[in-house]
């Protein structure tokens, strides 16, 4: 992909390694009171329960792992086909298949607990009570560092209302979950809204300790020979490099609207991609779809961030939100 040929990152290699190694890039960060050894996490639904990647990469080099969305009860998921490749992206409608909160605690958490990477559990439910119920079960586990509330999920079963696209519901579910939560709470926002800052502020007001954005964009693809949708659920979530520009824009907007930390996500496949989110204001990033086709991506991003900071003799923290605007430019005016 184009970003791998980053001039800045490449130029780095011609410098003296000694001088650069001496400089501390300060990749260690604290978010919502949690300490991460670096700001690179793997995204929910794209990294399983971590163990699946143990044979491919050194999990102890990651900042954190966000596990697949967990619900109070196990869920079977949608019929096949569930995924479809699009230009520079993919659609998915997995249907929230997961082992359920109890089984997660028993079978998956013990392994995750042994890692240096922080463990964040992505949580979803069909109703506010359902979210609360899931958090309550998970509270019993040892070794969960934070929850990430996925409020960009099913709409049909809650009478067409989507938590992530109604600020009132957002506030309600975040407040209720926060009340019972034993650990810091991140809220993962949907990008399928007119003004994402409204939802960011609603989550902040309700007590969220941080925000993750973005989740996938609702899309669809059609097989023109059979006249059927490419995935059984008709619509699915678009992820991958295709969505990065919109995700960066939303992170930029939200970082100006709230005080709590923001984790940026959407199409990250290289350190340069990650830096776009950081310069836009994200304090950490998540790697999603890239884990599928290039499992070493998250490690490459960690190393690339380190090399960038060393090369530029910058502390990571001073990169956050370091976007320089053209002088007479109103921030984020939108014209075509």
């Amino acid at each position: 992909m184009k970003n791998q040929s980053s001039i800045g990152l490449a130029r780095n290699q011609s410098r003296e390694p000694e001088t650069e190694a001496a400089f501390s890039p300060g990749l260690e960060i604290d978010l919502a009171g949690i300490h991460f050894q670096n700001p690179v996490l793997t995204a929910s639904g794209t990294f399983g329960y971590g163990q699946e990647f143990a044979r491919l990469i050194d999990l102890n080099k990651l900042g954190g792992i966000v596990v697949k969305g967990i619900s109070a009860e196990p869920m079977p998921g949608n019929p096949a086909p569930r995924i479809y490749e699009t230009e520079a992206g993919m659609l998915n409608a997995i249907g929230l298949q997961n082992v359920g909160a109890r089984k997660f605690l028993e079978e998956k958490l013990p392994f995750l607990r042994t890692l240096k990477a922080r463990c964040l559990v992505n949580v979803f439910g069909y109703s506010t009570e359902n979210y609360v119920r899931c958090v309550e079960i998970l509270n019993e586990g040892e070794g969960i560092d934070a929850y990430e509330l996925n409020i960009s999920c099913p709409n049909t079963r809650c009478g067409g209302m989507v938590y992530g696209s109604d600020p009132k519901l957002t506030e309600e579910v975040v407040a209720a979950s926060k009340r019972v939560s034993r650990c810091p709470l991140f809220v993962k926002l949907s990008p399928n809204v007119t003004d994402i800052t409204v939802f960011a502020r609603a989550a902040e007001a309700a007590g969220a300790d941080g925000l993750t954005l973005v989740n996938t964009f609702v899309g669809m693809a059609i097989d023109v020979e059979t006249h059927t949708p490419r995935i059984s659920n008709v619509t699915g979530g678009l992820s991958g490099p295709a969505i990065k520009p919109v995700a960066v824009r939303m992170v930029y907007q939200v970082c100006r609207a709230v005080k709590i930390p923001v984790i940026g996500i959407g199409g990250i496949a290289s350190a340069e991609d990650a830096l776009e989110f950081v310069i836009a204001g994200a304090r950490a990033v998540q790697v999603g779809t890239a884990n599928f086709y290039a499992p070493e991506t998250s490690i490459r991003v960690v190393e690339g961030l380190r090399a960038y900071c060393q090369h530029h003799r910058t502390h990571f923290s001073s990169l956050v939100g370091s976007l320089r605007l053209p002088e007479d430019q109103p921030p984020a005016s939108i014209e075509y």
Binding site: M1, E85, A88, M90, Y293
Partner: protein, 283 residues
């Protein structure tokens, strides 16, 4: 299972838009068991973002036996037999010797978990049933069953004679090969399930194990037939795959389970399943 950058040794065009791709992969090749698959990446093409699943057709020594140069006779080459059907396979066809590509392999359980082997040992004859490019999943099983001294027969159907690729590779391992083509250009005209049915009918006294790989409809028909004749049947399933690693849950298919049934991942619990375990009704 390893993720490696492998080099193309040969990418031989066969008939009907099929190719046989040989990749040098000394670390992965020795790990391959019959029925497993690989995920191939075509880097630098963000419009072919995801890796493509391909059965491992065969593994080979770098230097033919007797040349004495093999590293303790461990295989070093992985072969993939594939057919151009879209953009990814088109790009595969453009690979030239010396090009590099990324491969995740070997993946999946394959045909020869202990429980499957047990069924093969109890059979009088193993019947391979291949539809089109499904043939690619069956050569390694045929080889290893032959090594175990088990009698085998190959039923292989395709659209036309151009698609009947690889048959000669099976000759040393299977007693007989029965071919069929939809256009009648070779073997029995029509679907391969007809000669298969005839064989099962004519040998009611024998115990068969069926190993099938091919399009969904063919697998469904084979599964149904196996059930009717009381034969155990293993199917190698295909489905779109996002990762091959068991994490995206994109490849799940419906299997029999409690309640409304449940899902299992083709890449991890499969690609080989007992035919009876699969819920064949497409939803």
């Amino acid at each position: 299972m390893l993720d490696e950058t492998v080099a193309v040794i040969e990418n031989r065009p066969l008939t009907g838009g099929h190719f046989l791709l040989s990749l040098r992969s000394p670390h992965q090749a020795p790990l391959v068991r019959p029925g497993q698959f690989a995920m191939l990446r075509l880097p630098g093409h963000s419009d072919v973002l995801l890796r493509r699943p391909m059965s491992i057709y065969d593994v080979k020594l770098a230097h033919p036996q007797g040349s004495g140069k093999g590293k303790g006779n461990l295989p070093e080459i992985i072969q993939l037999l594939y057919k151009i059907v879209g953009r990814g396979t088109q790009l595969m066809a453009e690979l030239r010797p010396g090009d590099q590509t990324e491969m995740l392999a070997p993946l999946g359980h394959g045909f020869f978990e202990e429980k499957y082997l047990e069924a093969a040992r109890q059979a009088d004859e193993v019947l391979h049933v291949a539809g089109g490019i499904g043939i690619a999943a069956l050569l390694m099983p045929a080889k290893s069953l032959a090594r175990a001294g088990i009698r085998q027969r190959l039923f292989f159907g395709a659209r036309g004679v151009q698609e009947l690729v690889g048959t000669e590779d099976f000759v040393p391992f299977v007693g007989e090969t029965i071919l069929s083509t939809e256009d009648g250009s070779c073997g029995t005209p029509g679907y391969i399930t007809r000669p298969l049915e005839a064989h099962l009918e004519n040998h009611r006294h024998q115990r068969f194990l069926l190993l099938a790989c091919g399009p969904w409809a063919m697998l469904e028909a084979t599964a149904e037939m196996a059930c009717r004749h009381g034969c155990p049947c293993l199917v190698s399933m295909e489905n779109r795959m996002g990762c091959g690693l068991g994490v995206c849950l994109g490849c799940s298919i419906r299997v029999r389970g409690e309640g409304h049934g449940s899902y299992e991942r083709v890449c991890t619990e499969g690609p080989v399943f007992w035919a009876k375990h699969v819920m064949w009704e497409r939803k």
